[in-house]
């Protein structure tokens, strides 16, 4: 957030800073307005139970949004985040379900080694990061098209998820693993606290680490960043690795919440994640976006979904509204970039 913009006399520049300020905080104004509308439509919206439900549902999606945003900041795309999440969820499930914990014998028969769940979690996160690493190497080092590379890995991962999981539901996830996904501290879900902590970490990384600065620089102008002595290839690869890691974390939260893993635990979350990032002000052209904006985008999308759900709007209409919100966000992105160009 560029709150500290100092301006001197000139009105043009004051106006520029003011507009800049408004652009960066607009999402929160919109969020409050949407919440007011939702509250009027159905007073139950503001109940503790509903708010906690929103946060619980937003947690895995939130990780995906962060994952996608980090790659978007470099000016690249990652279509494989959701497939990555589902794949490592299944691998993790197979690893941690042992005959003692398994409620059904279906899945336990496979890899039922009595490993503790922390080992399974570590493997999940490592595997997810490795997938990100491979994406990153292909995109940054081999200069393959990011869209096509991650689309191909998405398709592969979907196939691998079905292959490994044999299309079945894996039950019997250990309680310890499920703690963060399900527990509540008072009325607040632990997953929500975890997610906020994750946002705080990313915010810190973007604002005050060398890597954060390099992400913005590479996304804004890769050639210039390279000329300024930034190892552009490494930055993009690392962004993909972080993206993969966060997809793994999303799998952790999702499996924890659902208590099961299968190829069908998630669908359509990829597009919601991209949409929430763009709604939150992350530019598809790279180099623009803040952690606070991303959080705003995530909450706005979640609130809109929840409010329509409460109002019992049929799912088909929900789809249409979602699409409309995304279109508006992309329009805002295009205008923002146009605005930047005009001041040249």
């Amino acid at each position: 957030m560029q709150v500290e913009s100092k301006t001197q006399a000139e009105t043009r520049r004051t106006r520029f800073a003011y507009r800049h300020h408004l652009q960066n905080n607009f999402i929160w104004v919109l969020l409050v307005l949407t919440m007011c509308v939702a509250w009027f439509a159905n007073p139950r919206f503001l109940s503790a139970l509903n708010l906690s439900n929103i946060m619980l549902a937003a947690a895995p999606l939130g990780c995906l949004v962060l994952a996608e945003s980090i790659v978007l900041l470099t000016g690249n795309f990652d279509l494989s985040i959701e497939a990555n999440m589902v794949f490592v969820a299944i691998v993790g499930g197979l690893l941690m379900v042992t005959p003692e914990t398994a409620e059904s014998q279906i899945a336990a028969a496979q890899w039922g080694i009595p490993w503790s769940w922390p080992v399974a979690l570590t493997v999940m996160l490592a595997l997810a990061s490795l997938i990100g690493l491979l994406n990153g190497i292909m995109v940054a080092r081999f200069r393959m098209n990011n869209f096509m590379v991650t689309m191909a890995t998405m398709i592969m991962l979907e196939g691998m998820a079905l292959l490994v999981g044999e299309g079945r539901n894996i039950f019997g996830i250990p309680e310890g693993f499920r703690y963060i996904g399900t527990a509540k501290a008072g009325a607040i879900p632990v997953a929500a606290i975890f997610l906020l902590a994750l946002f705080a970490l990313v915010r810190d990384m973007l604002k005050s680490t060398v890597f954060g600065r390099q992400l913005y620089a590479v996304g804004s102008n890769r050639a210039a960043a390279r000329a300024a002595g930034i190892s552009d290839t490494q930055v993009i690869i690392l962004a993909y690795v972080l993206c993969g890691l966060l997809s793994g974390v999303a799998a952790f939260l999702l499996v924890g919440r659902l208590g099961t893993a299968s190829a069908g635990i998630s669908s359509g979350q990829l597009f919601l994640a991209v949409a929430a990032a763009v709604v939150g002000g992350v530019s598809l052209f790279g180099g623009r976006g803040t952690a606070m904006g991303i959080l705003g985008g995530l909450l706005l999308m979640s609130v809109i979904d929840n409010a329509m759900n409460l109002a019992q709007i049929p799912p088909n209409y929900v789809q249409i509204v979602r699409g409309g919100v995304i279109l508006l966000a992309v329009l805002a992105d295009a205008l923002r970039v146009g605005f930047g160009k005009r001041t040249l």
Binding site: Q2, T7, Q8, V210, R213, Y216
Partner: protein, 500 residues
């Protein structure tokens, strides 16, 4: 065919033009006129109001006050369409033609003669030949615009404009991208057209060219006419004085040449540069003069591994042979590069002046334990750099894109010099930079050399090389054709060699 204007008739007469944007008064009562057959140079630093005046004359801006008299008629403001119908045409700084269409189609762009529904190609080509020959251009109208040199594109654009029988043609920085030879071609064409009574407005940063080409000049400074009159009355120094206001030190002395060789290039080659050898000593500024298209910029980018790589040869930095892998690696070895194209290889748009300035040296700002950036420390460093490099900005948080070209360039020079390297390669560091900023950049380069850095300076401005450099290497056909020590060569001689 052509309108011949009588000599006493003023083509365009703008009187007491003022223009404000909000509280910002850009033009304050400017008078400007163009007589038939004359070339009127419009000079001034960036931000002096040249562009605003051009936009008012071509109808893109409406003046806040004043009037424009064209052809005896008075207008309080123009629109682009009205200006064109009154015979005022502008050739923009970057000529935009459709690269994938032939010259003929570009000349009739959007007005192709048709036969029934089909474009009549024979007629386009016949008429294009006429249009081209009217301005004395010998080009095949069927050539793709993509295959033309920049000056040829400009000529096609002027030929295209000429068919509308213009009274005044405004040339906005026409020579910025041209070699000395090409500038001659352009000037010849302008001379041919002015015989027919067309008046030219010639906007340029290059004072030599203004002095050579124009009959009259008007110098704007801070939105007022600083001076105006026949060009013979002004020396280059006079022009600079009027543009800048007070006399700045145009000369840049540096001392402290040592014997230590900081950079040695041995038989280095790219596709266009062959067997380039150089021994650069600490504290030395070596100038490279090369016509455009000689591939010097590409050579530098290959040397620093910004794009491509050297075909052969050895690079020795401070006595150590190195195989550079990336610009980052080059900087660690002590070699820094500033590109001639700040938009492509320099600026990080959408980010603040602070981030743009500190991005090259972030590692110095990392706190030891937490590995985080020292943000207050960064602000301090950037504030010092802004002060030292005299970057004019509304604040360090402003987007780098809102700065003027000169200030953007100073910020980039600050970014590079703050890395404190042994060798700097500066590729046309004052290209498109106003006179005052230019003098400041010169001073900063000289200072850096005085402190022991070795500097390679490539410039399209030969005057700049003569002032700044201890040695000048003239490159022709990819090889060093001549080498001069400081004071061994005159500007005239260098220009002659450069053009041959």
């Amino acid at each position: 065919m052509q309108t011949i204007h009588t000599k006493d008739e003023t083509l365009i007469n703008a009187r007491a033009i003022s223009k404000s944007f909000g509280h910002n008064e850009v033009l304050k009562g400017v008078d400007f006129d163009v007589q038939p057959g004359e070339v009127h140079a419009l000079l001034g630093e960036n931000g002096a109001g040249k562009t605003t005046l051009l936009r008012i004359l071509s109808g893109r801006y409406q003046p806040t006050a004043g009037c424009i008299e064209i052809n005896g008629e008075e207008f309080s403001c123009l629109t682009p369409v009205l200006a064109q119908s009154l015979g005022i045409e502008i050739v923009p700084q970057l000529v935009e033609l459709v690269d994938d269409l032939p010259i003929a189609d570009n000349i009739f762009l959007g007005r192709w003669p048709t036969r029934a529904f089909w474009i009549n190609h024979d007629e386009i080509i016949n008429r294009s030949e006429k249009v081209l020959s009217q301005v004395g251009v010998e080009l095949d109208p069927q050539t793709l615009v993509r295959d033309l040199t920049y000056v040829q594109k400009q000529m096609v654009e002027i030929a295209r404009i000429n068919q509308f029988e213009p009274r005044v043609i405004i040339l906005d920085e026409p020579t910025a991208a041209l070699s000395v030879r090409e500038i001659e071609i352009l000037f010849e064409m302008v001379n041919r057209l002015r015989q027919r009574g067309i008046g030219f407005v010639f906007v340029t940063h290059y004072l030599n060219e203004a002095a050579r080409m124009s009959d009259r000049l008007t110098i704007l400074r801070d939105g007022i006419v600083a001076t105006s009159g026949p060009v013979e009355k002004f020396s280059i120094q006079d022009m600079v004085r009027h543009m800048v206001g007070d006399v700045t030190d145009f000369c840049s002395d540096h001392s402290g040449l040592s014997d230590e060789v900081v950079l040695a290039l041995q038989n280095t080659s790219t596709d266009l540069i062959h067997d380039f050898n150089l021994q650069l000593r600490a504290g030395e500024i070596v100038g490279l003069a090369a016509p455009k298209g000689e591939g010097v910029s590409e050579y530098f980018r290959a040397l620093c591994r910004l794009s491509g790589k050297l075909n052969s040869g050895e690079v020795i930095i401070k006595g150590n042979p190195v195989r550079l892998r990336s610009p980052a690696h080059a900087q660690r070895c002590g070699l820094g590069y500033l590109s001639e194209d700040r938009h492509q290889w320099g600026l990080i748009p959408g980010r603040s002046v602070r981030e743009n300035t500190s991005i090259g040296t972030l590692q110095k700002l990392v706190k030891r334990v937490s590995r985080h950036l020292d943000l207050p420390g960064e602000k301090k460093v950037v504030a010092e750099l802004i002060e030292k490099f005299q970057v004019t900005t509304p604040g360090m948080e402003a987007d780098i894109q809102i700065l003027s070209g000169g200030n953007q360039q100073k910020a980039l020079v600050a970014r590079l010099f703050n890395a404190r390297l042994a060798v700097y390669i500066l590729d046309d560091p004052t290209f498109g930079v106003d006179v005052k900023s230019k003098a400041q950049v010169h001073r900063l380069i000289a200072e850096e050399a005085s402190q022991g850095a070795g500097i390679i300076l490539h410039s399209s401005d030969l005057d700049e090389l003569l002032q700044m450099c201890d040695r000048i290497l003239l490159i022709q056909q990819g090889r060093i054709a001549h080498e001069f020590k400081r004071g061994e060569v005159s500007l005239a001689r260098l220009e002659e060699l450069h053009a041959s």
